[in-house]
Every structure is written in C-alpha cells, then in structure tokens.
C-alpha cells in the first residue's frame, strides 16, 4: 500500500501551512529521517522529515502552495516493491489555494530559515500519541542517559523517556535498559556480581526509592506457579506503571465530601434544554474543580526539592479510560471556560484520545486531575495522585440517599467526592478548605455558570 504523507502539524497551534520547498523529486529514494520538504507556518519554516522508507511516488501539493491544511495528503510514498501503478487510485490533491504564480526565484521572498531551532513544543506529530514523558523528564527536555544506554535502547526499541534512570542524578544507565528489556526491571539483587552468592536479603536502603520490582519469573514463583498468559507491556502501560509507582513517594491523604446534586442536575437540564447541548455532570465537576482551585490557590501547586511551584494557570486533567489503558487529556484554563465549551472540548478530546490522536501538549501539563467512576456505579473511591500534581478528585456516582434537612429525613441526590492530596504541598486544613469550596460550588451551581 502506498503511504500517504500528510501535512504535519509542526506546532500546537498550527492548522495550516505553506509548502515552501520540496527537497525530494518524484522517483527519489527516501529514508527515515530524510528531509522531504520545508513547511512554512505562521511562525517559522521547518523541515519535514520522513518517518518511513520508500520512493517518493507522487507529489500532490506543489512547491509554493499556500494554506495547506494540517493532515491533508501532500505526497505519496511507495514502499519497497511497489511501482507507479500502485498510484492509480491516488487522487490528485484536492486543490488547495492555488500556488502562487511561478514567481522568479528572486521575487519570492525566501522563507526565514529557522529550521535549526526545534519547534517549541512538539516535533512533527507521529501518527500515534507519543508516550507521555515519565519520571519527570519534561517534554522535549534532555533525557540523561549514558551513551551505551542510548545505543542499547535504540537497538532494543525502548523509549528512553519511559525509563527510570538509576545512575547519578537519575541518569539512565545500561542496567536500566537491560531491566526494561527484561520487562519490568529486575531487582537490584539480581545484578550479576561475580562469584559472590548473596547470603542475606538486604533491607531496602532507608533513603532510596523502595519500590520492589519483580521479574516475571519471580512473580510466577510468588503466585505458586499458577498457569498464566504473557501480555506484552505496551509503552502506555509502562508509562502508567512508572508514573503511578512514582507517586508512591508522595505522602497521600484523603478527604471525602458528600455533595447534594439536585440543584446542579436542575441547572444542567435547563442548559441542555435551552441551548440544545449535552453537558454532563462531569463537565460541571471540571469547572467546579477549576474554580475551587482559584478559591484555594495553594492547592494549584507542585512540590520540587528546590521550591513549591505555585501555578498561575488552572489546567484540569481528566482521566479517560481506553481499552489499552488510560490517558488524561487536559481542559486548559478550565476556570475561564463556560460549561458548554468545556463540554464540547471534553467530548472532542475524549474522541481523539480513543483514536490515539492526542498531541503531547494535550495530555501533559495539567495542574490537577479529575477521575470519575460514577458511570460504573462506584459510590466512593480514592484516586492515585498524578505527579507532579498535588491533588486529584475522585468522583463517585450521584444517587438518591436519605439526608437530614431541618431535622427531617429527606431524599437528595448525593455524590461523594474524595480528594487525594500531596501533604508536602497541601496540609490537611488547606485540603479541607479546598473540598469545602468544591462542595459549595457543586451544591450551588450558579457560580459555575458565570
């Protein structure tokens, strides 16, 4: 099958771009990593590199074309063994804005070349969502790894960003890659040391990360040899495992509030009815979480060994379950967005999350998380903090419960929400203030509607 090359999104905000220059002609061989074309955006000119190998079969968008939409096919790559006949079914480009009349080279202002400086956030978006950086490797930041570890990772097709480094200053060393290749990381005790039989189990070092990492064989042995099937650990599964294991060092505590939902449900019904939209209770929860953070801003912060970073914006990560795991797309600046907008953004993000099409910046950089298991009937639960965030709200099902009002037994729709907090940043009273603010916003939802 010929591979369609699509117009890449070279920055988070890019929706269209200009095809400044083709570096390859039809019929040219293309290797992964070759620069195929130069794409001009509103900000810069960047190089477009091939991901696959093959022969450039057909150019669909001519040099100089303006306003080419992101994801529009711009060329067709023939794989090995395919010839031009495979192009029979390829439709010519849906005419984009006509190329500029062939201007003389002198007349066409050369695009400003800033190809050397990398795009600010994301590299040309790969077809699948890249694994979120684990272990505090900030996206795009340098990953420290020994040369040998880098080469072993490359040969073993391991994503360095998903590996926890055990070397000096968290540097990834050979041992870490070998452990990752073995799957899950063998415990240190298994490190080969010549002619030295371990005699006694050592206590975990008091200062160290004391997470026990079992090999497949050890787990099998511990389970008493029950038969099993191997399920390969995907990149996403490894990231989930690493990130959540990381949260083990966070001193957690939990605060639960019961929120009466009837007023909110009424408001929601009115909005949906009047505006013809389909907002969900969760959209209200996102907004309430964001506004509660504004009321108690010290919760909107992250621990570091140097300082507590108090975030100036409120970005709410929302856990979305996927068949193969979960991902947390972000409603950015949720405190400033109307419920209806949050609702439509959330729907769109969830859809793309399920299609594996989220961009890095769409699921990285939240300042708090919301996890909602209410739709499964879970009444109340606690959630694991998503480092470096300091709080996560676990939202249970809203159901009718007996409540006491004016000394009378009454029925109300009640939703139990539990906040998990990082005690290094958020002390108990502060967490309680936050949960009180959250409860108040949910129970008197007028404030959510402004």
């Amino acid at each position: 099958m010929p591979i369609e090359l699509l117009m890449p999104a070279l920055s988070p905000t890019m929706t269209e771009g200009n095809l400044a220059k083709w570096h390859k002609k039809e019929g040219d061989a293309v290797k992964a990593g070759d620069v195929i074309a130069e794409i001009e955006t509103d900000k810069a000119t960047m190089e477009f590199e091939a991901v696959d190998e093959g022969t450039l079969g057909k150019i669909l968008v001519p040099e100089g074309a303006q306003g080419v939409k992101v994801n529009q096919p711009i060329a067709v790559l023939l794989e090995e063994g395919e010839d031009k006949s495979a192009l029979a079914n390829v439709k010519p480009a849906a005419a984009p804005a006509a190329p500029k009349p062939a201007a003389s080279p002198q007349a066409a202002a050369p695009p400003v070349k800033t190809a050397a400086s990398p795009p600010p956030a994301a590299a040309p978006a790969p077809p699948r969502a890249p694994a979120p950086a684990a272990n505090g490797h900030a996206p795009g930041a340098r990953v420290f790894a020994s040369p040998l570890a880098r080469r072993l990772a490359e040969q073993g097709k391991i994503d360095l960003a998903a590996v926890r480094g055990s070397g000096p200053h968290g540097r990834i060393i050979r041992h870490d890659i070998e452990a990752a290749l073995k799957g899950g990381g063998a415990p240190r005790a298994a490190a080969p040391v010549q002619a030295r039989a371990p005699l006694v189990p050592m206590p975990a070092p008091s200062g160290g990360g004391g997470i026990t990492r079992y090999s497949r064989d050890q787990v099998h042995a511990l389970a008493g040899g029950t038969p099993f099937t191997d399920i390969p650990i995907t990149g996403m599964r490894r990231v989930i495992a690493n990130r959540l294991a990381e949260s083990e060092v966070v001193p957690h505590y939990f605060l639960t509030v019961d929120c009466e939902l009837d007023a909110l449900l009424k408001a929601r019904a009115d909005i949906n009815d009047a505006l013809g939209v389909k907002t969900s209770v969760n959209d209200f929860v996102i907004k309430a979480t964001a506004l509660a953070l504004r009321k108690v801003p010290m919760v909107n912060a992250s621990w570091s060994e140097d300082a507590i970073l108090k975030w100036e914006e409120v970005h709410v990560s929302v856990a979305v379950a996927l068949p193969e795991g979960l991902i947390t797309p972000i409603i950015k600046n949720a405190d400033k967005k109307a419920i209806a907008l949050i609702s439509s953004e959330m729907r769109e993000l969830a859809e793309r999350a399920k299609a594996g099409k989220l961009k890095l910046e769409e699921f990285q950089g939240g300042t708090i998380s919301v996890s909602n298991l209410g739709m499964y009937g879970t009444r109340q639960f606690t959630a694991v903090i998503n480092p470096p965030q300091s709080a996560i709200i676990a939202v249970g099902a809203g159901d009718k419960r007996p409540v006491v009002k004016n000394d009378q037994l009454a029925v109300a729709t009640v939703m139990s929400c539990t906040g998990t907090f990082d005690h290094r940043v958020v002390d108990g009273a502060l967490g309680a203030q936050f949960m009180a603010a959250f409860k108040k916003l949910i129970e008197a939802p007028g404030a959510l509607l402004i």
């Binding site: 040998l148 005790a189 040391v193 030295r196 005699l199 050592m202 160290g208």
Partner: protein, 466 residues
C-alpha cells in the same frame, strides 16, 4: 577509657579500612578504626607504595645505564642497596603518618590492637595478649586484608626464602634470585632485581606470565623481560626447595622434564590468603570460603550488621578495589540511594614492572568466551611520536569492543607509563562510553595517550598513524 560505643567500627586500617572509616565519618557516623600494626596497612607500609619507591630507583638505574642514548655520559655509576631501601621506607613512613592525620581530621578514633568479634555488634580488642577493652557498634566492617600464601614445600623462612616482606628490605642484593609466581607481585620484584643487575629466574605454573592479563600482553611482556635477561619458565612447577647455608636448590618440573637450579634467594609470590583467623568469625553467622569471607554484592556477610571488604573477601586483591568497596559499603549502610554494586569489569589493574602493564575489563579471550562478537584494535608504541621521543618505542595498546553495541569491553596496555594512562579507559567504561565517544574525544598531541585513541580507531579500521 574513652568511648566504647560507635556507629561504625572498621577492623583493619589498610586502604579499604581507613577509606571506609573516612567515608563513614563524612556521612556523620561515629567511627573507629582498629589497627594492630601500622595505619595504611600492607599497601602503604609493605606493598603498593614502598615497592613503587623501589621500582623508581630501578627505573633511574635503567636510565643511567642508557645515558648515552640521550647524549650524556657518566663514570662510576654506583648504587647503595641500603639507601634504596631507606628511601622506600621513608616514603612508606611519610604516608602512614599521613593516614594518622586523616583519622584525626575526620575525628575517627584509632584503637591500637587486634580485634576479636563477640557477635551481636560487639568486639574486644587486645594488644600483645593484654586486653585493651570491649567495644560495640551498629555496624562492623572487617577489612583485615590478606597475606602471602605458602604451600607445603614452599614455606618462607625470611632468610633464604622470602615473601614480599623480606624482598622489600634486602640488606644486600643476592647474585641470583628465583621468583616463584608471575602475578603482579612476583613480576614487580623480578623486574626490580633484574634492573639492579641480579640474575633473575621466574617460574610460573600457568602457561604464561601475568596470567590475568590479555594473552597478547602476556606474550609481549615475556619477550621484553627475556630481552632484559630474565629467565622465564612457564607451565613449570617448583617441586622442592633445598636449603644450603647461603643458597637454595630448586627442583623445577616442566611436564616430564625436571631440572635443578641453584639460587641465592627465593621470592614466594604464589597468591595470598585472607586474614580470617583468631578474630572470632566463628562466633558470627559470617561464612568463610577458602580463607575469604563470603559477602553479597553490598559487602554484607551472613551476620546482620557485619560487613567485609577488600582482600579478605577475595580477588581482585587490589587496594583501589578495597577502597571502592569501603565507600560503597558505607554508603549502602547510610542508605544513600545512588549506590551501585561494584562492577568487577570496571576495576583497572596495574603492574609496575618495566615495561609497565595495565588493563581494565575483559580480555579478548574472555569476551569471546562470553559469546560476544568483538572488534579488536591494536596500536604499537613505535607508531607514536611521544613514545619515540621518550626513547620508549616498545609497547602495545589493545582495545576490545562489543561489535554489536560498541561497548568498550576491555583495554590492555604494555609499555612506558601505561599505568598512568589506563584511567582514561576506566572513565570511559564507568560512564558507559562506546567507540563513538572515544573516537570523538580529542587527545592531545604529542602524548602517549594518542595511542589510546588510535587503538580505538584501529578496532573500527580507521587508525591514522599505522
């Protein structure tokens, strides 16, 4: 009696022990060292350091023999064995005092005497069979070292048959000398005595000298020694040593051939045994296997709170291995989370004979035995400008890489100053460098170190000066 209770007590003030004590003190532990003889241990007093002083004298002697090569002439060149030995002792003394100063500076209590473990973090110390006192510590680190091995029929007497100890302080030079064992200790003494004009014969039971080194290096060194007039018998055993009044008749057996050799003195250098006796180890759960204390990769013994480091836990018997184990073990006890177990393949080894020998990591044969595809590079001293300018055109730098990953598996060198060069490869190995980083490192010209670069280039068919 001052303090009797400590966080850490180290038994043995050799390089492993005193370094472990300093690191423990740095980490805030209340620390004591028990030493029965001299701070600095064998290394400083009767090993590494004083032999380097002797070998320096031998090197000066060698240069004096070749003054003409450098445009000089001198008459009546002579040496005084006593003065050579005196200098060696002075060097040792100065450094031992230095260790005493380091103990004071780090507020480490030094207890003079021999320790006996009582189990459960307790021990008693005595000096000349008189009790010094009982002490207790949360952790005890055994760093008692090792001593020369003797074998039936091959027992030192300190007069005609020496160990390193007597060999280091000869009153006069023997006319002829038999060195039994061609490991680092044996070869260094052979080289020293040969350079001072003694007829030296070396006997090695294995099929090559310096048997832990790469085969090519062994062969190169053997040729160089023989060129200097050393007689070397490999695959040969010494069956008997018959003592006369001022000489020894040795029976050398090679296969089914046997011959007699009369020499004035014999040096026994047939390995070492751990100092594990008379120290109460049997009162603990620590296990001893063939004179060495059994430990895990963190230097922990079977007895909770009891650790062991250095020569007493086994080969390689190197001071720098002991020091590294000391630091690693103490950091582990302190719970630092950046500690990694010792990687034996990153421990360099140096022999200060002439020509010097130095290596780190796997030999070519061992790498292949592990089933690895290797790329091997060579570079001879004769291709290096600095080596020729120094008048040291004989030597070899060999590198072994994993063909698949580019990992530097081993580096092996013979020739002038290679003991000072090997650290470059040790750093590359420890930082997990590959051929790429070594190739793109800029080595200064003109230096001997350029050969390290060229050897790497050669492994990948890119050597420039050969």
């Amino acid at each position: 009696m001052a303090e009797t209770s400590f966080d850490t007590i180290v038994i043995g003030g050799g390089p492993g022990g005193y370094v472990a004590a300093i690191r423990a003190a740095q980490l805030g532990m209340k620390t004591a060292v028990i030493e029965r003889e001299n701070l600095g241990g064998i290394c400083l007093n009767w090993g590494c350091i004083p032999t380097k002083a002797l070998l320096r004298s031998a090197e000066v002697g060698h240069i004096l023999q070749h003054l003409g090569d450098y445009g000089f002439s001198a008459k009546d060149i002579a040496f005084d064995t006593k003065k050579i030995v005196e200098r060696s002792r002075k060097v040792a003394k100065q450094l031992s005092n230095g260790v005493g100063f380091l103990m004071k500076k780090n507020k480490i209590t030094v207890i003079d005497g021999s320790a006996t473990l009582l189990g459960g973090g307790k021990l008693s110390v005595s000096k000349d069979n008189k009790p010094v006192g009982d002490f207790a510590a949360k952790t005890i680190i055994v760093a008692t070292g090792a001593r020369a091995r003797a074998m039936p029929g091959l027992e030192p007497d300190g007069k005609l048959i020496w160990t390193y100890r007597e060999a280091m302080v000869p009153e006069k030079l023997p006319k002829s000398l038999l060195v039994i064992g061609s490991g680092a200790i044996g070869i260094e003494f052979a080289s020293f005595y040969r350079d001072l004009g003694v007829e030296v014969t070396v006997v090695e039971v294995l099929d090559r000298v310096l048997p832990v080194e790469d085969e090519e290096i062994s062969a190169f060194a053997k040729k160089a020694f023989e060129k200097q007039g050393m007689k070397i018998f490999t695959s040969t055993q010494v069956k008997e040593l018959k003592k006369n009044a001022d000489s020894v008749v040795a029976t050398l057996v090679q296969g089914d051939k046997s011959q007699q050799l009369e020499v004035e003195r014999v040096i026994l250098a047939i390995g070492i045994v751990g100092n594990v006796e008379n120290m109460g180890l049997e009162k603990t759960k620590a296990k001893v296997d063939r004179t060495h204390i059994v430990i895990d990769q963190w230097c922990a013994t079977g007895e909770p709170g009891l650790y062991a480091i250095g020569d007493v836990v086994g080969p390689p018997w190197l001071a720098h291995k002991a020091m590294h184990e000391g630091v690693m073990c103490v950091e582990r006890i302190a719970g630092l989370n950046t500690v990694h177990p010792l990687d034996v393949s990153n421990i360099p080894g140096c022999t200060y004979c002439r020509p010097q020998v130095a290596s780190v990591g796997l030999t070519e044969a061992k790498a292949k035995a592990e089933g690895r595809q290797v790329k091997v590079g060579h570079f001879p001293f004769i291709g290096n400008g600095k080596a020729i300018a120094l008048g040291e055109p004989e030597g070899l730098v060999k590198t072994v890489f994993d063909a698949k990953t580019g990992e530097l598996l081993g580096a092996h060198m013979v020739g002038a100053e290679v003991t000072e060069l090997i650290q470059g490869y040790a750093i590359a190995k420890t930082m997990e460098g590959t051929e790429q980083e070594l190739m793109s490192t800029i080595f200064p010209h003109p230096t001997l170190s350029e050969m390290m670069h060229e050897s790497v280039l050669d492994a990948y068919g890119r050597a420039l000066h050969i």
